[in-house]
């Protein structure tokens, strides 16, 4: 994958954004990223197509799950030297608060990075980092067999 190859050569925000922009579903959801020092934050820009419940209103649970899964992939692509986009093996999502109609942020952390498999955790929040709206963990395949 060319955007991933470029990111391996240039670990900076511009190349990470270019990787995200090369993924159609990331563009569809409206995912962005910011790098400050060694801290990577993924951003889900709010727009109407993300809403699941118009009465609350609240962001669709599937969108939050999709964002967290994408955030784990992007985080792994950022911290590793993988040649392929990491592929999910399993993902567990805990829904903690309803997602309000505003931007959502996520940060990931690698729990274990083996040769073939990585275990990642991620948390998403809106108005305050210590009030997460969702958390997820997952195993990802880092090498195509």
């Amino acid at each position: 994958m060319e955007a991933l190859r470029q990111l391996r050569l240039n670990k900076d925000e511009a190349h990470l954004k270019a990787l995200i922009q090369s993924i159609p579903y990331a563009r569809f959801l409206g995912i962005d990223a910011e790098v400050r020092g060694d801290e990577l934050t993924m951003i889900l820009r709010y727009h109407n197509d993300l809403v699941g419940n118009v009465m609350l209103p609240a962001i669709h649970g599937g969108v939050i799950g999709g964002f967290l899964e994408m955030a784990m992939m992007i985080h792994l692509a950022w911290v590793s030297e993988t040649e392929h986009l990491p592929r999910p093996i399993d993902v567990g999502i805990d829904y903690l608060r309803s997602g309000r109609p505003r931007d959502t942020y996520a940060r990931g952390a690698v729990t274990k990075h083996g040769r073939r498999i990585a275990n990642v955790r991620v948390e998403a929040w809106q108005e305050a980092r210590d009030k997460p709206i969702a958390a997820a963990h997952g195993h990802f395949r880092m090498k195509e067999e």
């Binding site: 994958m1 090369s22 993924i23 159609p24 579903y25 563009r27 569809f28 959801l29 109407n48 197509d49 993300l50 809403v51 699941g52 419940n53 118009v54 009465m55 609350l56 209103p57 609240a58 962001i59 669709h60 649970g61 599937g62 969108v63 799950g65 999709g66 964002f67 899964e69 994408m70 986009l85 592929r87 999910p88 093996i89 399993d90 993902v91 567990g92 999502i93 805990d94 829904y95 309803s98 309000r100 109609p101």
Partner: protein, 174 residues
């Protein structure tokens, strides 16, 4: 223990109800069928849902949305009524990539409801000659929901909103 009038109502108005959630509408989600305890939904293949541009495979997040929706609907298919619900957790195992160009189906079954918690399991797969390929799953899931009794609009309000392509009241949430 499903109330057949609920299922009949969902069958008659399912496509309108699917259109009610802007995100479900945005990814083209459709209701395939409902029966006691079981809901089947489908998302058509679309280039904007691709997660890996090299392979054209749909992103797992699309499968997550589909399984989440089907799971939630299956709870109503079990209880026979529409109630406000919140997803507590959703765990998904990915068995194989979805085939590029093919629609993805999800079959969810609510197998137990306690006082206020619903337990669901589901499978995402393709369909061949009108038959769900459940033995060759793309993904499987287990989900738990809390039945909150929170606000839900009556079905006619939902249909009117969906028909109008209504935007949510963005100022109402705070």
């Amino acid at each position: 223990m499903s109330d057949s009038s609920f299922l009949e109502q969902i069958r008659a108005q399912g496509s309108m109800i699917m259109g009610f959630a802007p995100h479900s509408r945005a990814i083209g989600m459709q209701m395939v069928s409902v029966e006691p305890d079981v809901a089947i939904l489908m998302v058509p293949y679309a280039p904007e849902l691709v997660g890996n541009p090299d392979t054209g495979v749909v992103h797992g997040g699309v499968i997550t949305s589909l399984l989440d929706n089907a799971s939630g609907l299956s709870v109503g298919c079990h209880t026979g009524e529409r109630k406000g619900m919140a997803t507590l957790d959703l765990r998904i195992d990915y068995m194989r990539p979805a085939t590029p160009g093919e629609n993805v189906y999800a079959r969810a079954e609510c197998y137990k409801v306690t006082n206020n918690i619903a337990f669901v399991r589901g499978i995402a797969c393709h369909s061949k000659d009108g038959e769900l390929q459940l033995a060759d799953p793309i993904a499987s899931c287990v989900a738990t929901f809390m039945i909150t009794g929170g606000p839900i609009p009556d079905i006619n309000t939902m249909i009117a909103l969906a028909a109008a392509g209504e935007r949510p009241a963005e100022s109402a949430g705070g």
